[in-house]
């Protein structure tokens, strides 16, 4: 057990929260899932399917926030285009799910998705080929965002595009993709996107058991990615990354090829975003170009800022909290929720520059001196 704890908390100080966090995350997931599947609907502890899908969505966002935090919090690269990687992963999954519909679409066409039939497409475009295989689609869900991140990162980091310029360029990237995916000629369903999914790997997507399984898989993957990222960031590679964040020129002068470190971290982050997207689509039931919208990408950054950049737990908590707040606000005060959300962003940046985790650390720091004094006395 101690070795396990050590492995989890290797290196960094914040690592000591890793194991408890993972345990809590997985326990809560199990409890919620069990409450949904095994308790009767009128029980006070019953967790509705609505809540399960909502939690599943939050966890996908948490994974996405993790991806953003890895490059922003640990390497100082503020990406305003992570929505693009997320959406690309989502489209790969969406294409697989579309192909699974088979001849059960409204037109009963065994080969073409509905939107292609009524726009009079004659055959499946080449990039849809192979998408009927789950493994291939999942490969694409990580490879396509990965390649895009590699190409973009390689170009940008090598020519030392940094800071604000890089942020704006990533925004341009996701905006260009947004416009491209809106075009119906692209063959991704245009504005309507991909929807009306029936089943995944043969399981009915509308069944509670499938939803719960997807939710559990998301939680598990989030835990795995969280631990792996923690390990990576506390390794030698991670130390260099931190050095780049704090003083890029100095790291370069010492002899590190900073651009390579940045590119690989960027690719890793994009892959996580792609996985999050692929998990998101079957749970919410639709993927459309709106996910590429630059506003979405800015929101992701805000989740991280609220939770506390530079701490992976913070990113996850921030994503869950902000989205929970959004769900509640839109229901309680549909006319004025943007005021509350906007005010929250302003107040957090002003008064909690290190986010909620920073607040927590502050509180701990206040208590600790008292403790040490006591023990010394």
């Amino acid at each position: 057990m101690t070795r396990l704890t050590e492995w989890f908390s290797a290196g960094r100080s914040s690592g000591k929260h890793t194991l408890p966090f993972v345990v809590i995350l997985l326990t809560m997931t199990l409890l919620a899932s069990a409450a949904n599947l095994f308790l009767p609907a009128d029980s006070a502890l019953y967790v509705s399917t609505y809540t399960i899908t909502l939690l599943g969505k939050y966890l996908c966002y948490a994974m996405l926030a993790l991806a953003v935090d890895i490059i922003w919090g640990y390497c100082g690269i503020l990406s305003l285009g992570h929505g693009a990687f997320f959406a690309l992963g989502g489209y790969a999954m969406g294409m697989y799910l579309m192909r699974q519909i088979g001849d059960r679409g409204v037109y009963g066409n065994p080969l073409l998705p509905d939107f292609m039939v009524f726009l009079d497409w004659k055959e499946l475009p080449w990039f849809w080929l192979g998408m009927d295989h789950f493994w291939f689609a999942m490969l694409m869900a990580v490879v396509v965002p990965g390649i895009l991140a590699f190409v973009f990162g390689w170009l940008a980091f090598r020519s030392r595009v940094t800071g604000v310029y890089l942020s704006i360029m990533t925004q341009a990237l996701t905006y260009a993709l947004l416009l491209a995916f809106f075009r119906n000629e692209m063959g991704f369903g245009g504005n309507n996107g991909l929807t009306d999914f029936k089943e995944i790997l043969g399981f009915d997507l509308q069944a509670d058991s499938t939803r719960v399984s997807l939710f559990m898989i998301t939680a598990l993957l989030l835990a795995v990615l969280f631990v792996v990222s923690q390990r990576i960031l506390s390794s030698r590679f991670g130390k260099v990354v931190l050095a780049i964040r704090d003083a890029e020129s100095r790291s370069r002068f010492i002899g590190y090829r900073t651009d390579r470190y940045k590119v690989w971290l960027f690719v890793y982050s994009a892959v996580i975003a792609g996985i999050a997207g692929a998990l998101y689509v079957p749970q919410v039931g639709i993927i459309n170009p709106g996910e590429f919208s630059p506003i979405n990408s800015i929101e992701m950054v805000i989740w991280v800022a609220v939770g506390g950049r530079g701490t992976l737990i913070g990113a996850i908590i921030g994503a869950i909290l902000v989205n929970y707040a959004k769900t509640r606000f839109t229901a309680i005060m549909p006319d004025a929720w943007l005021f509350a959300l906007g005010a929250m962003f302003v107040l957090v940046t002003l008064y909690l520059p290190k986010g909620l985790m920073g607040l927590y650390a502050q509180m701990m720091a206040k208590r600790r001196p008292a403790k040490t004094q006591e023990s010394e006395a």
Binding site: L78, F152, L155, A156, S159, R160, V161, T162, G163, V164, Y165, S167, I168, M169, Q171, A172, L173, Y175, A176, L179, A180, F182, R183, P294, I295, I298, V301, I302, A305, D335, A336, L338, F339, L341, G342, A343, M344, F345, V346, V348, T349, L350, P353
Partner: protein, 533 residues
């Protein structure tokens, strides 16, 4: 235009009064028929009226064309609706005497549709060939070009020798040539002369006539027509190029206006101002409010709106700087988050106050319409003014930054904050003023944009990304860069659009910017020296 029509109505009304009084019986029955007629049956009635009454019917036709013809429910007599100093009054169509004590409930509108409007315009043109004003005569001839029949040609032929105005005479000559070129019973040589004459004109109707001649039985005519067409096409293409260039410049001026405020708040101060779009929006809403306050002086409203918008957005900018941004010094990426929150709040604020619906901003009469240089090239006035306005704002801004003490302070603070402070510059005050200036200019841009696009809560969102692209492409902190970037992106987009379509053009431009920044990470005109880091 409306005044003109009203004036003409008065003139003709006076003329026709005696006629109306003299022979009232047949016309009366026709007019009563007009009241009860269905839209489909109206044309024959109007034709009869035109044939029997001639010029005297003109006021009726004009009022009907303007959609202002009503009849009194009680006695079915016709009245025109006029607007006098904001009040609706009803006047007798022919005598122009105000009919007292009529309210909207006592009258009913006589409906017109496009078919009728087309007929009326043509009929009025026919009658107007003899109008006093040469402009009216010329537009009448041009109007008739598309529907030349024997009667019209006879009329024009009769008027042609006595026409004194050169332009009108030319237009009439063109009409005669068009008719001659298509008359099969004419000698081919005469037709060829006519075609020769046609090849110098850029009128669309001329081109259509020539295209029809391409199917003529006589090969010589076909050859001449095709040559003439080619001639015309060559000249038209040259003008099309100018047209496209103008489109590009106009788009560029919009981009410039949208981004120039950002060039200050983001470029000079380093604040990633996501609320910039909302400053533009506030300016546009200010225009709306100004027009609401002075509904009878729309023509002057813009001149009030420009300073008002500058103040509203500028004060909002100062407020934002004092309350939020000054706490975030040296943390540019954090300003992004805070200003994004502010932009959400401002959008919702506007939505709550003004409703989510778009608001109506009227275009002053001096800004509507277009400047017609020739039949294929006309520049729309509002865009022309906005282009000039954008350049003016730009020059004013450059002067402020280069020639005033505020400008000096702004530059000093942006280049070396602590040194400026040490020299006694009130950096706090300068920050607030700079942000206010940038926001105020965004507000002015809002006034201009309200003339082109929707005034709604999402107005700012539509321009924010483009604005950032322009500033980054031009080089952060360099105003000239912003100017060059805005116009080059505008022109590039407009030249791409015809071949690629609007969506693809936008994508290509974005990808180009991304690649360009990889090549030159600091934009077109990079800032040099220590301040750049």
């Amino acid at each position: 235009m409306r005044h003109l029509i009203a004036l003409c109505c008065c003139l003709f009304g006076l003329l026709s009064f005696s006629v109306y009084a003299a022979e009232s019986s047949p016309q009366d029955s026709l007019l009563t028929e007009l009241v009860g007629a269905k839209l489909k049956n109206m044309t024959p009635i109007l034709e009869k009226l035109a044939n029997t009454q001639g010029e005297a019917i003109l006021p009726l036709f004009r009022i009907l064309l303007g959609g202002d013809l009503y009849y009194i429910k009680a006695d079915k007599s016709l009245v025109g609706q006029f607007d006098e100093q904001g009040n609706t009054v009803y006047k007798d169509v022919f005598s122009q005497v105000v009919v007292p004590n009529l309210s909207k409930k006592d009258v009913k509108k006589i409906r017109v549709n496009n078919t009728l409007r087309g007929y009326l315009r043509n009929a009025i043109a026919q009658i107007q060939l003899t109008a006093k004003s040469p402009e009216l005569r010329q537009s009448a001839v041009r109007e008739l070009l598309s529907k030349l029949d024997k009667d019209t040609i006879n009329l024009i032929e009769a008027l042609y020798p006595n026409e004194a105005n050169k332009k009108v005479k030319e237009a009439m000559g063109l009409a005669l040539s068009m008719y001659a070129a298509t008359s099969i019973d004419l000698v081919p040589s005469n037709r060829l002369v006519a075609i020769e004459r046609l090849s110098t004109s850029l009128e669309g109707d001329v081109r259509n006539t020539l295209t029809k001649l391409m199917k003529d039985e006589n090969p010589a005519i076909v050859k001449a027509a095709s040559e003439a067409l080619e001639n015309i096409a060559q000249r038209a293409n040259r003008f099309a190029f100018i047209d496209q260039l103008f489109f590009g410049l106009s788009l560029g001026s919009v981009l410039l206006l949208a981004s120039i405020g950002l060039a200050i708040t983001f470029g000079v101060m380093g604040v990633i101002n996501m609320a910039h779009g909302e400053m533009i929006m506030l300016g546009a809403y200010t225009t709306y409010v100004v027009q609401l306050i002075m509904p009878n002086y729309i023509d002057y409203s813009i001149w009030v709106a420009i300073p008002a918008a500058f103040l509203v957005s500028g004060l909002m900018g100062v407020l934002i700087e004092r309350l939020v941004i000054r706490h975030l010094h040296g943390r540019p990426l954090e300003t992004l988050l805070a200003t994004f929150g502010i932009s959400l709040i401002l959008q919702q604020l506007v939505r709550t106050i003004f409703s989510p619906l778009n608001r109506q901003v009227s275009t002053p009469s001096w800004m509507s319409g277009s400047w017609e240089i020739n039949p294929v090239l006309s520049l729309t006035l509002n865009r022309l003014y906005i282009l000039a306005f954008a350049l003016l704002v730009f020059i004013a801004l450059v002067i402020i930054l280069k020639k005033t003490s505020l400008g000096l302070n702004v530059r000093a603070v942006s280049q070396n904050r602590s040194m400026a402070k040490a020299m006694g510059v009130k950096t706090n005050w300068v920050d607030a003023m700079t942000f206010g200036l940038g926001s105020g200019i965004a507000g002015i841009a809002g006034v201009a944009l309200s003339q082109l696009t929707n005034v709604g809560p999402n107005l700012g969102q539509a321009y924010i990304i483009d604005s950032f692209m322009v500033v980054v492409f031009g080089g952060v902190g360099n105003l000239l860069g912003t100017l060059v970037a805005a116009f080059s992106l505008g022109i590039a987009t407009k030249f791409l659009e015809p071949t690629t379509g609007a969506v693809l053009a936008a994508i290509i431009v974005l990808v180009f910017i991304i690649l360009f920044i990889q090549k030159r990470p600091k934009g077109l005109f990079p800032q040099k020296g220590r301040a750049a880091e």
